[in-house]
């Protein structure tokens, strides 16, 4: 048996190691040309940094993990491996440069699979967010870590959640001036979610220390951190020039009269994360009511032989992804949940999950965020669909469901297949449906083709390398 691990972020790397520790053969697939996922994104081997740890927690942990996998003859590491579809015939992969051409076709079996495809930023629309110079927080982070490119000279980081902190610090460590970090959740809400049941946080001491180190670093770089505020508009002719910031109430509705503006040349927005579910869905895995892959204590999905770990099972950071990966890999390799080697991973998982649950409550998207939208605000970036157009279509078609709304307005039908705006459209439609519409149970998560493929690459005579 071969265990196929999809995704080489913290979860996938840990899963591969655990399966190798149990003496199983592993194939590790990732679309990137290097290991590490979003968390451990780093300069390429052609330009190695001698002090990478400045931008990373646990960098030495990664270096050891990577060496362990690359040195093990039982482990086949395939980078630049784009998993584009999964069906009865297997896991279909194109190996080569992103978006082709002439990639090598491979197929891997689905008997034992660990899905660890992670998540991407969720960015709520804001008037002006389609201007060049507006980035997702993760995008700015990826450029800083992978390219050593700073997105601007005077940068504002805004949205919600603890992820804004490492992004701001990376920018500060990339010669940008971070003019502020604007967190929409209010201080009282964050404090109360932390103060409740403090005994549950015993074991998460490293996180408390991490918070302390952010406080010190923010002071050193003089980065202002404000809570209970949001960017409610972004302005500029060709490119970002300034932002409007307003105080928001606990539901994130802007409070009239509190607006002020700030001159910036780049804005980084992040309001949480959306799991990358399409491959898990293609495998037949059920989702839970929070719209992540449903798993049991053993990281088993609803499909026999398929395990899931990391951010596709819930957003909890790299530490949780690592221990989930360890448990998934061990079980995929035939191990048992009560095996002694998993003792520590299971204890840590419980700690990090409690930790994640608090962050979820503290930074959840406020239900009235859409009050900062204007009729002209772009909702679907691919198809240039505005808030007003969407609203009109919803009214005219009696907003009977997501499918008709999408087909009539074209929102969510562009080249990104609704990855960027899908959840936003669902949330807007859900809010409008109180006014008479209905939701048809259709969601934007299903995408049978996970990454674009060129027709030429599917020719029968194209370089086909079926793997057992």
């Amino acid at each position: 048996m071969k265990i196929v691990v999809i995704g080489a972020g913290p979860a996938g790397l840990a899963a591969a190691r655990a399966a190798l520790d149990a003496n199983q053969r592993v194939v590790l697939l990732d679309a990137a040309d290097d290991l590490g996922g979003q968390y451990w994104r780093h300069l390429p081997s052609s330009r190695p940094s001698s002090n990478e740890a400045v931008l990373h927690h646990q960098w030495t942990n990664f270096v050891e993990l990577r060496a362990r996998l690359e040195d093990d003859p039982l482990c086949e590491v395939v980078t630049s491996a784009h998993v584009w579809a999964i069906d009865r015939a297997g896991i279909h992969v194109l190996v080569g440069p992103p978006d082709g051409p002439d990639r090598e076709r491979r197929t891997y079996p689905t008997d034992a699979v660990v899905v660890a495809t992670g998540a991407h930023d969720r960015v709520l629309p804001v008037p002006g967010w389609e201007l060049p110079g507006v980035y997702s927080a993760g995008g700015a982070q990826a450029l800083a870590k992978g390219d050593r490119v700073a997105v601007g000279e005077r940068v504002l980081v805004a949205g919600s959640g603890p992820f804004l902190l490492p992004v701001a610090l990376s920018l500060a460590n990339s010669t940008s001036t971070v003019v502020g970090v604007v967190e929409a959740s209010r201080a009282r809400r964050v404090a109360s979610s932390w103060a409740a049941r403090p005994w549950e946080l015993v074991g998460a001491r490293t996180k408390v220390a991490e918070a302390g180190s952010y406080a010190r670093e923010f002071a050193r770089h003089r980065i202002p951190y404000v809570m209970g505020r949001a960017v409610t508009a972004i302005h500029g002719a060709e490119c970002v020039e300034s932002v409007t910031i307003a105080a928001v109430d606990s539901s994130w509705a802007p409070i009239v009269g509190t607006e002020y503006s700030l001159a910036v040349d780049a804005v980084c927005l992040g309001h949480g994360f959306t799991p990358r579910l399409e491959l898990a869905i293609a495998l037949g895995c059920q989702l839970n009511d929070r719209r992540f892959v449903a798993i049991d204590e053993g990281q088993r999905t609803s499909v026999v032989g398929v395990y899931a770990a990391g951010e596709i099972t819930g957003v909890g950071g790299a530490d949780l992804a690592l221990v989930e990966g360890t448990i998934a890999g061990h079980l995929a390799a035939g191990g048992r949940l009560d095996d002694e080697v998993l003792g520590q991973a299971r204890r840590h998982r419980a700690t990090w999950r409690r930790f994640a649950a608090r962050l979820d409550v503290a930074h959840a998207i406020g239900e009235r965020w859409s009050q900062w939208l204007t009729p002209e605000t772009t909702i679907c970036r691919c198809e240039d669909v505005t808030y007003q157009q969407l609203r009109t279509v919803a009214r005219v078609t009696d907003s009977s469901g997501l499918r008709s709304l999408k087909l009539t307005s074209r929102a969510g039908l562009g080249i990104c297949q609704g990855r960027t705006c899908g959840r936003t459209i669902e949330s807007l439609l859900g809010a409008w449906s109180n006014e008479g519409g209905l939701i048809d149970g259709v969601t934007t998560d299903r995408r049978p083709i996970a990454v674009p493929v060129r027709l030429g690459e599917l020719r029968v005579d194209s370089r086909d390398a079926a793997t057992d």
Binding site: R47, G139, V149, T175, C382, E383, V451
Partner: protein, 114 residues
């Protein structure tokens, strides 16, 4: 100036040797640092957008940075719809701005992206 490459001399992470990579952007020769993505090279060279959207021909550049949003697609070496945030720059790569607007006259090899 907005986006820029971090000056290697001032970079706290002390990157290794910085070799130049040269690409062609809409006919102009543009240099970046070997190992950077095409998007990284474009941004450091002062380009903030390189695509027009299909309906309004609105400018788009890099947004998600991880291959998810498709805002950053351009024509690379004659092939359209290449996510330049995902592609490392290679010497001689030819990047052409891509307009998806029907009125645009940009000639490009069409792709079969969904």
């Amino acid at each position: 100036m907005t986006a820029h490459s971090v000056d290697p001399e001032k970079d706290p992470i002390r990157p290794g040797s910085t070799n130049v990579v040269t690409i062609v952007v809409d006919g102009a020769s543009v240099t970046g640092v070997r190992g950077q993505t095409l998007a990284g090279v474009l941004l450091s060279a002062g380009y903030v957008s390189w695509r027009g959207t299909s309906r309004g021909d609105r400018p788009r550049g890099l947004f998600c940075g991880i291959g998810v949003c498709f805002d950053c697609v351009a024509v690379v070496n004659g092939l359209s719809d290449v996510r330049v945030c995902q592609r490392r720059a290679d010497d001689g790569d030819v990047v052409t701005f891509q307009s998806d607007h029907p009125d645009s006259s940009v000639e490009e090899q069409s792709s079969d992206a969904p």
